[in-house]
Every structure is written in C-alpha cells, then in structure tokens.
C-alpha cells in the first residue's frame, strides 16, 4: 500500500484499512415473524427478520435460552429489503435479537466528529461515528456425525402408526465444549448453519396365512400374505448453544415424517394368483451427514450495541 491508512494490532493483523471495509452497526431487530415451526422430535422454529439496508447485511444473534441457534438465510427479497432467517431448537417463544452490521456506506450518522477512513473512490471504509463492529472472540465448531446416540428400534410397521410422538428421532448428541474466551453479559454470535444430516429406520412385517391345509409345512389350497412397511425419518441442521464461555455444536430437527406401503399377495395351490413388486436404488440422503467441515463462530459484545 503506497497511500491511505492502515491500523494493525500487535499481531500485525489489520484492524482498519483504506483498502478494506469494516462492518458498522445498522440496528437491533427483536420482533421476528415465525415463518416455519414443528413440534416433533424436540421441535424447531424458523424466525424471519426483515431488514432494510442498501448493502449486504451481516447478522449476529444473541442466545437468550439454552437452545441451539443458527443462521440459515440472508436474502435480498426486493430493492433494499432483506430477509434474514434464523432457526432455533425447541418450541419456546423466547426469540433472539438480531444485531445487523453492514459496511459504512449502509449506515448514516449525525455525529459531527470522529475518525473516517476513505477508500480511493471516496466511500468510507471505516467511520468511528457508526459503531464499528468489535470482534471479541471466535472459535471453530464441528458437529458430531450422528445426531442420535442410539439406533431407532421398535416402531410400528403398519401405516406409520407410531407417528411422530416417539422421541427416538430427537437429537441428543453434541460436540465437546469449545471455548470462546471471556464474554460480556450479552455475547452475540455470527454462525451459519451449514451441516445437515438425515436419519431413518425402516420397519417391515410380513404375515402369511394358510386358509387351506398345511401339509409338511406347505400350504395346500388358498394362501395369503400381507406385507406392511413404514419408514420413519427426520432431517436436521446444525446449531450452536452457549453455556458460560463455551459453545457446543448440536442438531436442530427441521423436518420429520414417515412413508408407508402395504402389499397383499395370494396363492392358490402353489400358484401365484397375481401381483409382483420390486424396489431398488438410493435416496439422495439416507442416514447421511453432509457439510461437516468446521464452521466459524465469530463473537462480539452485544452490550456495545443497544
């Protein structure tokens, strides 16, 4: 850099530069709309926050409960309107506040003094009047591969009649503690939910009846068989929770369901009276976990941004 301004810390890392853009506080948003929710397997809520800004917003959130949280979307819906989506585990009605930061071009200020650093096009890369973002800590988290500590067993084979009231798909595995250092009374986090996983189990029962005679373990006459199959599944996305100065990476159940099939077959004097079936191939996700690379958690101090 032959001109301009650069401030570095004692690790020679850039804090402010006329070549880059710092983030500044746009606003705090505390009244999301609930855009999706479910109560099965621990439950979840998808919260939508609508933000108006001229440049791309970068969201941070606080964690008011011990549940898991993660950002799942930042979308420019129209003009300067953005919708930021965040998911949380559980069915509680306590929602996080969203702290939104943008580069200095997206924030106005009426203060008449401070320090401003300009880029060579005259736009501000840093403006001390606009509450610049201060990073207080960070970590990288990796989610466990399997959200369930036990395999799924013992569910009904017939027409998904175990429903979703069982708890076998409720996630109960999380990462070990990851330290984020000392935090304020209201730490705020930037974390994107990238990891995804799916778990399923299939239960099948085939019942054979002999209406005719049973001779030497063979059915002579009319026989009937019935097969019922139910496949129970759930889909999860990654989330983090905080406990003291640690964060933990776990799973949020965002969808669940069941698929069933039933088949009857008849035989008469060993002759198959009709019908036939076959299955094959793979589903796109079947007991799979994807995007497990470690994910950054950036920590700030929410008390600076009232």
């Amino acid at each position: 850099m032959s001109y301009g301004f650069e401030a570095t810390n004692n690790n020679n890392k850039v804090l402010i530069s006329s070549e880059t853009r710092n983030l500044h506080f746009l606003g705090k948003f505390s009244s999301p709309s609930v855009s999706n929710s479910a109560s099965a397997y621990g439950g979840f809520k998808e919260l939508s926050y609508t933000v108006t800004c001229t440049v791309t917003p970068v969201p941070f959130f606080d964690m008011p409960t011990n549940d898991y949280y993660g950002i799942v979307g930042v979308k420019n819906t129209t003009g300067n309107t953005w919708v930021i989506k965040l998911i949380r585990s559980g069915t509680g009605t306590t929602y996080p506040s969203l702290y939104v930061f943008v580069d200095a071009r997206g924030v106005s200020s009426t203060e008449s003094y401070g320090m401003q650093v300009l880029q060579n096009d005259g736009s501000a890369s840093f403006d001390s009047r606009k509450e610049p973002l201060v990073i207080t800590g960070g970590a990288a988290v990796t989610h466990p591969s399997n959200p369930l500590s036990s395999s799924i067993t013992g569910l009904s084979e017939e027409q998904c009649s175990s429903g979703s009231s069982h708890s076998q798909h409720t996630p109960d595995v999380e990462s070990s503690a990851v330290s984020i250092g000392s935090v304020s009374s209201t730490p705020i986090f930037h974390y994107s939910s990238l990891a995804q996983t799916q778990r399923q189990a299939e239960f099948e029962v085939s019942t054979s009846f002999c209406v005719g005679l049973v001779l030497y373990n063979k059915c002579v006459g009319y026989g009937d068989s019935e097969t019922n199959t139910s496949t129970y599944w759930a889909f999860y996305r990654g989330g983090i929770r905080r406990s003291g100065t640690n964060v933990f990476a776990g799973w949020i159940t965002v969808d669940g369901g069941c698929f069933w099939s039933s088949e009857d077959a008849s035989n008469f004097f060993f002759i198959n009276a009709g019908g036939g079936s076959g299955t094959g191939g793979n589903f796109p996700l079947s007991n799979e976990t994807i995007n497990l690379a470690s994910t950054a958690v950036i920590v700030g101090d929410g008390t600076r941004y009232a």
């Binding site: 067993t153 778990r199 189990a201 239960f203 976990t289």
Partner: protein
C-alpha cells in the same frame, strides 16, 4: 467373532468424524404364530459403533441385548 451365519446384514458403513463407524444394518426375525400363520419382522436401522470395535461383535451384542437374538 467366530465364522457363523450372521442373523443380520450390514448394508452400508461409513466413517464418522470422531472415528466411529456408522453402520446401516438389517435384521429379520420370524415368529410362528400357529400352524397356518407366521410373521416375519424386519428392521433396517443405523447405529454408530465406537472406534476400534468389531462391527459384527458389536451388532451381535447390541441385538442380543435388544431382544432380537
């Protein structure tokens, strides 16, 4: 585990991030209700097996404790 006919079938294995093995397996059990009726139950599910454990031995013990064997 001795080389015997296994009452379960391992359908897929994958390595998990902590070194465990994720195993999808199926097991079938037939019950003779009476002379004219029998019932075959099949379960296909997934389990994480700790690093270093033998898959067949683990599943045999796991299914025995679960009442399948």
């Amino acid at each position: 585990m001795p080389d015997i006919v296994k009452p379960f079938t391992v359908l897929d294995t994958k390595e998990e991030t902590d070194g465990s093995q994720g195993v999808t397996f199926a097991i079938t059990k037939t019950q003779f209700i009476d002379d004219a009726t029998n019932k075959t139950i099949k379960m296909t599910t997934y389990v994480s097996i700790p690093e270093g454990e033998d898959v067949n031995t683990f599943l045999f013990t796991y299914l025995s404790e679960g009442g399948w064997l």
